[in-house]
Subunit: 328 residues, 2 copies
């Protein structure tokens, strides 16, 4: 079992072990996480999202250096819900980040995909809580923007940076994906390429037309390039400025409430789905229903409604929390 005290003391092996346990769905992991929970809430969590190929990993790599130079300890969670078919390219970018591996002030974890999206979002949040308990003051969560809109990204971070490539249509695509509304900072990458200035202007024009997410923060657009480390420092400073702007007004608490709501919903969904799968397996109800459909004795929708009744009924009977209700 991962040791709570070791994790609170920042022990990297204990932290890595706990995150692995959480990823594999080990109930012991959940137990340890629960004891860590009261020690969390100190870190500032920054979400970095954008289309595949926009330059997220390069930016995260640069931000690690910037925040380290400012004296912060930095945790990184790279969430990769993408297909194994395209996994190769992403892995290459990730490897570049690993040059920070020897710096004890930096802790990087890639979260494996494979689960359903709710599960992945939940696990990423839990890994972020572990890094928070370990004392990393800045946590960067890198996700592929997948058009899931606010809930995915806002559920994982206090601040959100949207990475946009310099292509002419890239800004428009970000808008279509619903990212304009959730971004606190917009980072136009490859600032040395010709299209980047137009993309910057385009984003600024679109932002000027919309309502900001918080009245206390006007989203900013920053152009970066790999050859200009100062441009990445500007991004890091802007994130810290964002934190200061929101901390005074209660906006940060409102954002934490969103994070807790998304996390709680994911937890409940997972618990209910787990019950569903277990009930279907134990009862062999699914196999029996498939036979009935193949023999024309029922149709899929009727069978599904019957099964839903069975599942919720059985679950109810086995539910210890419910006995209290019956007694009272």
């Amino acid at each position: 079992v991962p040791d709570v005290q070791a994790i609170l003391a920042g022990d990297i092996r204990a932290g890595a072990l706990l995150i692995r346990r959480i990823e594999s769905g080990d109930p012991e992991g959940a137990g340890v996480l629960r004891r860590l929970y009261p020690h969390t809430g100190k870190a500032f969590v920054i979400g970095i999202t954008g289309a595949p190929g926009a330059g997220k990993s390069t930016l995260v790599d640069g931000l690690i250096r910037s925040f380290r130079d400012m004296g912060h300890r930095v945790g990184v969670i790279a969430v990769d819900p993408s297909s194994p078919l395209t996994g190769g390219a992403i892995l290459g970018d990730r490897l570049r980040m690993q040059r920070h591996a020897e710096d004890p002030g930096v802790f990087i974890r890639s979260m494996a995909s494979g689960c359903h999206r709710g599960g992945l979002s939940r696990t990423a949040r839990e890994a972020s809580l572990v890094l928070d308990a370990m004392g990393y003051g800045i946590i960067l969560v890198e996700t592929v923007g997948a058009g899931q809109g606010e809930s995915d990204i806002a559920g994982l971070a206090h601040a959100t940076g949207i990475v946009v490539g310099p292509g002419s249509g890239d800004g428009i695509q970000a808008v279509k994906a619903g990212l304009l509304e959730v971004g606190d900072l917009f980072i136009v990458t490859h600032g040395d390429l010709p299209g980047s200035r137009e993309t910057e202007e385009q984003l600024k024009a679109m932002l000027a037309m919309g309502e900001p997410r918080d009245p206390d923060w006007k989203p900013r657009v920053i152009r970066t390039s790999r050859d200009n480390p100062e441009s990445v420092n500007t991004v890091a400073s802007a994130f810290l400025e964002h934190r200061r702007a929101l901390a005074g007004t209660g906006a940060l608490t409102r954002r934490r409430a969103v994070m807790e709501r998304v996390y709680l919903r994911n937890l409940v969904t997972d618990l209910v789905m787990e019950r569903l799968c277990r009930t279907l397996e134990v009862s062999q109800a699914l196999e029996k229903a498939v036979s009935a459909i193949l023999e024309g004795r029922t149709d899929p929708l009727e069978a599904a409604m019957d099964l839903t009744g069975t599942i919720l009924g059985n679950a109810h009977t086995n539910n210890p929390l419910d006995t209290k209700e019956s007694i009272s």
Copy 2:
């Protein structure tokens, strides 16, 4: 309400209306589908999958022509679970297919994304049932292979074609994505490009090492090129040969059972999740729990377990199917 008789007579407007209703989650759509269900089961459903950019849409375009030349009516469902961020490119390929729009023997539907994967897979299956009821004898379902393995693809089609690009690593990627086990036909595209012959040989070598999915069908590898329509005819004929090979042995019925099982599981999951969402909304339980977490009166896992109990309990009480059980 879409008209059952019109759909059975092949009316395209009625069919399109029903599919739209199903996509939007309209309960009336489910009711009509249920009445159509006894009239389905005649179509041969072919799944076409592979990595983004492998050439799926071009192949589907060619297969429509081949099957039309053979006298079949062809329905096409293009499932696109990909991000709106990358949606632009895919749309271009789809547009090419639209040149069949004036042929009354061809019906093409793109399924919008946005739902969770289970929901999308369920809706695609339901659209396929509608096309089946409309009398399309061949149904092509194009999906992006997303590493979900057997359940996604096998749940949608009687036969599965895996599209592989001519790049040196493309065959290996297909294997990593778990596609080698589910493919009945492997189509190596861009047969005029230098790498295609190696990819073909590579796939053949890998297939020779594994067990075929059905003892009655040895998976085949076919190389196609856009300039050679005859190569696409070969693919179409091979799919029909596959159907003949499996029909005699009961293998086709086994595959239908897999499709029904996947569909039923998706239906049950959706029904349970719907109940979950409704309960959380009506009771405002989620908001209350978030407040308790923010005030430190509980932690997320305990709150989630309490909520799960409440949901399954409430659902039970409201479940009409359950009263019968209590009486008996």
